[in-house]
């Protein structure tokens, strides 16, 4: 493999495309869901309620087992209120998010595969093994150990750039909402166990 066979400029093009696509997804989602008053007030409210929940958790309870039980009851009540609210009102937003993200990522994957497929777009500073090697050498004819294909760069962009773009713009689901819905999902699946532990 000679130096001229590697096409580093394409590497930057792919990263640029992935960055643009990640931004586009966020902008489209903002237009479609995040800018609505109902979503924004829901987000502000959930964050506020979750903050209060944390505050109550941090407070010491009134003396005696009764005080402890009262505190626990208060926590459970507020927690349940927030989760029910989220389960009810976030479904539509989540569906739009999944739908749009999957669509754009699929189109982008097809396009980059078509334009840069079979090209050695970069050189890896390490030798990939097993599964990683399959991804890094995807579509390359007789690849050297440290050749890098478009698929590998695409995967890295999705894992590294997209969450950062979403977090930087911070229009969508806040951290609290993501956390609460993750815990909420477990609770709904197993309400008895959830009731005992919390």
């Amino acid at each position: 493999m000679t130096v001229s066979d590697v096409q580093p400029l394409e590497l930057l093009q792919i990263v640029g495309l992935c960055f643009a696509a990640a931004t586009a997804v966020e902008v489209l989602l903002w237009l479609w869901a995040f800018r609505s008053d109902s979503f924004r007030s829901l987000r502000a409210n959930i964050d506020k309620q979750a903050r209060k929940l944390e505050e109550i958790r941090a407070q010491p309870h009134a003396p005696g087992p009764q005080g402890k039980a009262a505190k626990q009851k208060k926590i459970d009540k507020l927690d349940k209120t927030i989760k029910m609210q989220m389960a009810k009102d976030l479904g539509g937003v989540r569906m739009k998010q999944t739908f749009l993200t999957a669509g754009v990522l699929l189109v982008l994957f097809r396009m980059t595969g078509k334009w840069y497929g079979g090209h050695v777009v970069g050189k890896l500073p390490f030798e990939p093994f097993s599964l990683l090697a399959k991804l890094a050498h995807r579509g390359l004819e007789s690849p050297a150990a440290n050749d890098c294909s478009v698929a590998f760069i695409y995967a890295l962009c999705q894992a590294g750039i997209r969450p950062n773009v979403a977090k930087f713009l911070d229009w969508g689901l806040s951290r609290t909402m993501t956390e609460m819905s993750a815990i909420g999902a477990q609770d709904w699946a197993n309400p008895q166990a959830a009731g005992k532990t919390r």
């Binding site: 209120t81 050189k123 894992a159 590294g160």
Partner: protein, 144 residues
């Protein structure tokens, strides 16, 4: 028709009233972008208490910044192979740890070391490998 937000407010108003008096807001405030304010607070040693959201955000962006800088350095030098990657992983866990120790932050308040160590780690690792590959390719396989 009552909006969902109002319903939520109504149903939890009793809890709100009781919690209101104890709310302590440590979030960064002031003019300018929030990220800048966060980093300004992070670099000062006033020992001011941290809000959970702010602290997690600082740790996230600290790791991303570290990933980009380390990726460039590793790629240009070059440091290669699995040990170079593990070296970055160690750095990515150690530096934020040293920072929040120096800020005298009680990790138990924020969910323990594990929660703080995990914040922003996955995107940072991916960004690091990406920047590492770009820097390595351009500095060793590109004729300017």
């Amino acid at each position: 028709m009552v909006s969902p937000a109002k319903q939520l407010q109504k149903s939890s108003s009793s809890a709100n009233e009781q919690a209101e008096g104890l709310m302590k807001d440590h979030r960064v405030k002031g003019p300018g972008p929030r990220l800048l304010l966060l980093f300004r607070k992070a670099s000062s040693h006033t020992g001011a208490p941290w809000d959970k959201e702010d602290l997690l955000d600082v740790l996230h962006w600290m790791r991303q910044l570290l990933a980009v800088v380390a990726g460039c350095v590793w790629g240009v030098l070059p440091l290669t192979g699995l040990y170079a990657f593990l070296g970055f992983l160690a750095l990515c866990l150690l530096l934020p740890y040293l920072w929040y120790q120096s800020q005298r932050i009680d990790e138990e308040e924020f969910g323990g070391h594990q929660a703080l160590a995990g914040e922003g780690l996955a995107p940072a690792l991916a960004s690091f490998v990406l920047v590492w590959i770009i820097a390595y390719t351009f500095s060793h396989y590109h004729q300017w």
